[in-house]
């Protein structure tokens, strides 16, 4: 069976840490930085479990600040 592997790139300076991508992700890839903040003081999103990503782009669709880029590869 073909396996879908995905990856996300998060623009940490654009992110406002609203947590909506974390809620939207079906495979629990994303999380908010618990301590670190970006230049504007937000706890930006990052990939907690990057290996789980399936490249569905749900996080990017609901992101209000357009900071997520999604990549997807189908491995045969």
């Amino acid at each position: 069976m073909a396996k879908v592997i995905g990856a996300v790139d998060i623009n940490r300076e654009r992110c406002k840490g609203c947590n909506l991508c974390v809620v939207a992700c079906p495979t629990d890839v994303l999380g908010l930085q618990p301590k670190e903040v970006n230049d504007r003081g937000y706890h930006f999103a990052y990939t907690v479990n990057p290996d789980n990503c399936i490249g569905c782009a749900s996080c990017a669709l609901v992101c209000p600040d357009a900071c997520i880029e999604v990549y997807r590869v189908v491995e045969k």
Binding site: I5, G6, A7, D9, N11, E13, R14, K16, G17, C18, N19, L20, V23, A24, R40, Y42, P50, G55, C56, A57, S58, A60, L61, V62, C63, P64, D65, A66, C67, I68, E69, V70, Y71, R72, V73, E75
Partner: protein, 256 residues
């Protein structure tokens, strides 16, 4: 396969729309405005109208929309965006003209302009962000505020005997013969974002085809004004806003 091999441009499935500028948006974290801005930018690009669009900005949170979407913008006086868009479309009938308004702009101060532009059947699209509150000025009661909803000016909840009923302006517009397409959408889940995008596309196509006024109402959240987290305000919206403002097409004469 390691992560660097996946992150190549040929594998990219989603990125920031080209028409969206790099300027960080001033909206609060989790605001629905950002998602709708993204959809508008994507649809304009997909339709190939990026050099052929005149957008009219409102007064409200979206007042700086011209900084974020790279098309030509006109800033209208408070509530007068449909009147300005009427002039823009009549003088430039080949252009895509749309207004982007909130509920305070469209349903309160601009009710007359909105209803008359729609009743004249102007070939414009109205994108209407309904978050049931005046977001920019600090969360006061708007005409669309729900019964019992707490705001800065109704701290014990909106009372019908004192403040009247919430206004379903899209239903009013759907009754007018000048409107062609009136729909109500949300942008809180990936599926609803896709539906909202299709609705915006249909509305833009209608206004280019000269079928009359199209209205896309987006039931949105205002987490700062509602004093909730973005996640909680999405849940509150689904529980309280959606039953009162039911989703779906209120009128669809797109294929006439």
């Amino acid at each position: 396969m390691n992560i660097e091999d996946i992150k190549r441009s040929e594998n990219k499935v989603y990125s920031k729309p080209e028409l969206l500028n790099d300027t960080p948006m001033h909206y609060c974290p989790g605001c629905s405005h950002g998602v709708v801005h993204k959809l508008v930018a994507e649809v304009i690009k997909e339709m190939g109208q990026d050099n052929n669009t005149i957008a009219v900005a409102p007064v409200g949170c979206a007042v700086f929309a011209y900084k974020y979407i790279d098309v030509d913008w006109i800033e209208a006086a408070h509530g007068r965006a449909p009147a300005v868009a009427t002039a823009a479309k009549r003088l430039n009938p080949e252009r895509l003209v749309f207004t982007y308004q909130g509920d305070g702009d469209l349903a309160a101060i601009g009710t007359a302009e909105t209803i008359h532009a729609a009743n004249r059947g102007e070939n414009i699209t109205i994108i209407f962000i309904n978050n049931a509150i005046y977001g920019m000025t600090g969360g006061q009661m708007a005409p669309t505020t729900l019964e019992g909803q707490k705001t800065a000016t109704t701290p014990y909840g909106r009372r019908i005997d004192l403040n009247g009923y919430p206004l379903k302006i899209s239903d009013l517009l759907a009754m007018l013969p000048g409107t062609c397409y009136v729909t109500r959408q949300t942008v809180h889940t990936p599926a609803s974002v896709r539906k909202a995008k299709a609705a915006i596309r249909k509305a833009f196509e209608n206004s280019m085809a000269g079928r009359g006024t199209s209205v896309v109402e987006v039931v949105s959240t205002c987490n700062s004004g509602w004093k909730m987290s973005p996640e909680k305000s999405n849940e509150w919206m689904v529980e309280n806003m959606v039953p009162f403002y039911p989703l779906g097409d209120l009128k669809n004469n797109s294929e006439k």
